[in-house]
């Protein structure tokens, strides 16, 4: 019977345990106060029920100490729960630096996933057990929200920018993925599954799937195909900033503003190059709005991210540079 009548969601990450501990503690506190008020209300309503038509209540002077007690005690409890909740929240959105990055593109009404080695999936996503997995997500149309109840993680997926979320699955199995932000007619069909596999099985699975070039390799190819290297070249003839070692650094704009070169900045610079021009450079770059798909933009970003400090090292494998990625504030 309980199969069709669960009262509690599956728990597949250590983080889920943190959320549950917080939730059940607060649920206990809530149950206590609800029961207290309910008991007092029912008890008083019976104990002091009206016995004669002309009876009136016996007013008492409100005690200041009593008012303070029932203001301060809830306040302290609430601030405690707030602090605990904030800790869990920060953990949810601050991925460890070594987390492996995957890309998610959402559109009405499907989820598209890309593995670092290039494998693509739609609505189903395979990840290895015990790996810190960070998702960099964007939407091609409206706002969606990536929600895996068994992992207790959720993050809105926005058009025109990147958001991220991470998890470390600690239980093998297949878990439900929902779109949690209403996104139009088939919102309730925008679901999928996440399959957590033993690392060895995952490797085997990866090898089985038809594999294109890795994300970084696709980005490199695109970088050349779009002739980005005409201006962004690692020598003195460069008319545009040298991209090597730029990712994760701060740059000064023409306006004097200091910005961090991250995925969102590169994306903005591709689509609206003159808006955030680095100091000392002329607005020469054309916009690539409409010429690059969301996947292609992500490939270019991955490629730029993979570029080491030295131009020669540009073919370094992408994994090793991952720790430089600053997790975005969410």
């Amino acid at each position: 019977m309980w199969k069709n009548f669960p009262l509690f969601p599956d728990r597949a990450t250590e983080f889920a345990g943190q959320v549950d501990a917080l939730y059940f503690t607060f649920l206990g506190i809530s149950a206590f106060f609800s029961a207290l008020i309910a008991f007092l209300v029912v008890y008083f309503a019976i104990r002091y029920r009206r016995r004669a038509d002309d009876e009136v209540g016996r007013p008492e002077k409100a005690g200041l100490w009593l008012e303070l007690t029932w203001s301060v005690i809830p306040l302290i409890i609430l601030l405690g729960m707030f602090t605990w909740g904030a800790k869990v929240y920060i953990a949810a959105y601050r991925a460890p630096a070594y987390a492996v990055e995957y890309f998610v593109t959402a559109k009405q009404w499907m989820w598209k996933f890309q593995h670092p080695e290039g494998q693509r999936e739609i609505n189903h996503f395979h990840v290895p057990l015990g790996q810190s997995t960070r998702l960099t997500m964007t939407s091609e149309d409206v706002i969606h929200s990536f929600f895996v109840p068994a992992f207790r993680v959720k993050a809105d997926v926005l058009p025109g920018r990147y958001t991220s979320v991470w998890f470390k699955a600690e239980k093998t199995g297949t878990f439900q993925l929902f779109c949690a932000e209403y996104c139009g007619a088939e919102h309730s069909l925008m679901t999928g599954t996440i399959t957590v596999m033993e690392p060895a099985e995952y490797e085997a699975w990866l090898a089985d799937v038809k594999k294109g070039p890795s994300v970084v390799a696709s980005g490199k190819e695109l970088f050349q195909a779009k002739a980005c290297n005409t201006c962004h070249r690692p020598d003195t003839a460069a008319q545009a900033p040298i991209l090597h070692g730029l990712y994760g650094e701060e740059v000064e704009l023409g306006t004097g503003e200091i910005v961090m070169v991250d995925a969102n900045y590169i994306r903005d610079s591709l689509l609206n190059p003159t808006a955030k021009l680095v100091k000392g450079y002329k607005p020469l770059m054309p916009t690539y709005q409409g010429q690059l798909s969301e996947e292609e933009i992500l490939q270019l970003i991955s490629y730029i991210k993979s570029l080491g400090d030295e131009p020669d090292e540009e073919d370094k494998p992408q994994q090793e540079t991952t720790p430089e990625f600053q997790s975005e504030e969410r």
Binding site: I37, M81, A86, C179
Partner: protein, 541 residues
């Protein structure tokens, strides 16, 4: 106890002083306008309720088999839009506030009677826009109108519906303005601020939000229209806009709007509990000022709707702690109401059953609200049925319970008739039980992960959904019974005396129903609100 009402049926009152459509449609009497609002609101409530019926039938089975997904999306959108903009926001203030505030402060009418009538017309004009939109295919964005879906993707009637909310918003501003001026300028001699009934305090706080908050949603709606009609990029990233900006603007009004719904309801509860405990409220000043505190703090917590929206972690932390603070004045009120019962003389009349029911449901709604304000919990339950259950506990379990309790309390004053006690108690019980059965399972569904606004859902959620739909059937019955006996009572109900409950307050010192100008002579107030111990000496005098 009270002076017997003259047995002559000829006594003139606000209802029989004039007859005919024109005398109603051009009335400047706040009491008649309250009745006009009651009729409009009941109409919109019934339509909004009908949508809920379809929603709950659809959700009785996991497959989306009753209506098309498009239809379902329009149903829950129109349910939310109608219930919020055309029922809950005007709700208590437009009906009970309009009727009672002038009487409670010893005035002949509101400060601006014509503005009051105008607000009713403006309100209905807004309502007509929405009904027009509904009849021409409706709108499917959810009542939240999130961009860029609402501005660039849906082809449903966003503009007409949003314009309806825009227009109805002006009615809300007019009512708020009228209340503020009236409460400041028209109190009877001797009626100091701290002698005011708490109903008036609550409406004063509400009016502040109506006047300060509503313009923001009006501006937001205009921006949506500018983007949708003229293609000016404000929210759509494809046009260089920011979709999250919309959420900030929307919730800057729509969170305080929750307090527009619940504060007047809290005012009603203060009146009911004191009247049926026949006792001065415990901690008058704390209850009064907590309304103001809620109104002010309510403007600072909008970001708690956006914890997973990509808002910065620091903003999330700030909005979380501020949301905890706004819970404290609500807790203060609850404890004071409970303490008022202590050593009272408690009568289990129908309005009191609603008030006690409110206490239970509001506590659950409020505590689950603080759970949602806890960042670590909200990540998981945001946009799930947990949220749906929480806000229905506040809006239906809180605001509608109080609205019904208030109607049952002041119905004799408004119509001069009593309703059948037996049926009213039965329906109050059905409402309480049906409500809990409808919405309590949704908390569990939410924690299990069922997202809101889902037309179809995985099979393991079915049992809880069936329970919820069963509860909704009982709740619906609980709402239909009062509609029947209220209408019945207007013709066949027993005539009500001036003070059927033995309650203390200016409204109970004038006949039921009152005359057009309420008081023959301006009353002079010499005692505090809810001064029940003085009642005996008074009736002797």
């Amino acid at each position: 106890m009270s002076t017997t009402v003259t047995t002559s049926a000829k006594r003139l009152n606000y209802l029989n002083v004039d007859h005919g459509m024109k005398s109603w449609l051009l009335t400047k009497d706040h009491k008649r306008i309250a009745i006009l609002y009651l009729i409009s609101l009941s109409f919109f409530f019934l339509i909004g309720g009908l949508m809920a019926v379809f929603i709950r039938i659809e959700l009785a089975t996991p497959a989306g088999d009753l209506v098309e997904p498009d239809t379902y999306n329009r149903l829950f959108t129109m349910h939310g839009v109608l219930m919020i903009f055309l029922f809950l926001i005007p709700g208590v203030p437009a009906v009970l506030g309009n009727f009672l505030i002038p009487i409670m402060i010893g005035a002949k009418d509101l400060a601006f009677p014509k503005l009051n009538l105008a607000s009713w017309y403006v309100f209905n004009a807004g309502g007509l826009f929405m009904i027009w939109a509904m009849l021409h295919g409706g709108v499917d964005t959810g009542w939240t109108f999130y961009t860029p879906y609402s501005t660039a993707f849906t082809d449903t009637h966003v503009i007409a519906t949003a314009l309806g909310a825009f227009i109805a918003g002006f009615a809300s501003i007019m009512t708020g303005l009228n209340f503020i001026v009236t409460i400041h300028r028209m109190r009877a001699p001797g009626l100091t601020w701290f002698r005011l009934p708490l109903f008036v305090w609550a409406h004063y706080a509400t009016a502040l939000i109506q006047v300060l908050g509503t313009p923001v949603v009006a501006i937001t709606i205009l921006l949506v229209a500018a983007e949708r009609l003229l293609g000016i990029g404000i929210f759509d990233p494809a046009l260089g806009g920011d979709p999250v900006l919309f959420q900030h603007l929307f919730w800057f009004y729509s969170h305080p709007a929750v307090y527009i719904m619940i504060l007047p309801a809290m005012g009603v509860i203060s009146e009911l509990i004191t009247a049926f405990a026949r006792k001065r409220i415990f901690g008058y000043k704390f209850v009064a000022f907590s309304s103001v505190a809620i109104a002010v703090l309510g403007f600072l917590v909008w970001g708690h709707h956006m914890f997973v929206s990509s808002q910065s972690v620091y903003a999330g932390i700030l909005f979380s702690v501020l949301s905890m603070l706004v819970a404290v004045p609500s807790a203060v009120k609850t404890f004071n109401w409970t303490a008022t019962l202590y050593q009272g003389s408690i009568s289990w009349q129908t309005p009191m059953i609603y008030a006690l029911g409110f206490l239970g449901l509001f506590v659950i709604g409020g505590l689950t609200g603080t759970m949602l304000a806890t960042l670590g919990i909200d990540i998981h339950v945001h946009d799930t049925y947990f949220v749906v259950a929480h806000f229905h506990y506040i809006m239906v379990g809180g605001a509608i319970m109080a609205y019904l309790g208030g109607l049952h309390f002041w119905w004799p004053k408004m119509t001069g008739r009593m309703y059948p006690v037996f049926w009213s108690k039965i329906s109050a019980g059905l409402v309480f039980f049906g409500f809990n059965l409808t919405f309590f399972p949704q908390f569990i569904l939410g924690y299990l992960g069922m997202p809101r606004r889902y037309h179809a859902y995985p099979e393991e959620f079915q049992v809880l959904n069936v329970l919820s739909s069963a509860g909704a059937t009982i709740l619906g019955l609980g709402y239909l019974i009062p509609i029947i006996y209220f209408i019945w009572s207007m013709r066949y109900g027993e005539r009500a005396p001036a003070n059927p409950w033995g309650a203390y307050g200016l409204e109970w010192e004038i006949p039921s129903p009152p005359t057009t100008y309420n008081f023959e002579e301006t009353p002079v107030v010499t005692r505090e609100a809810y001064d029940y111990t003085g009642i005996e000496e008074k009736s002797v005098a």
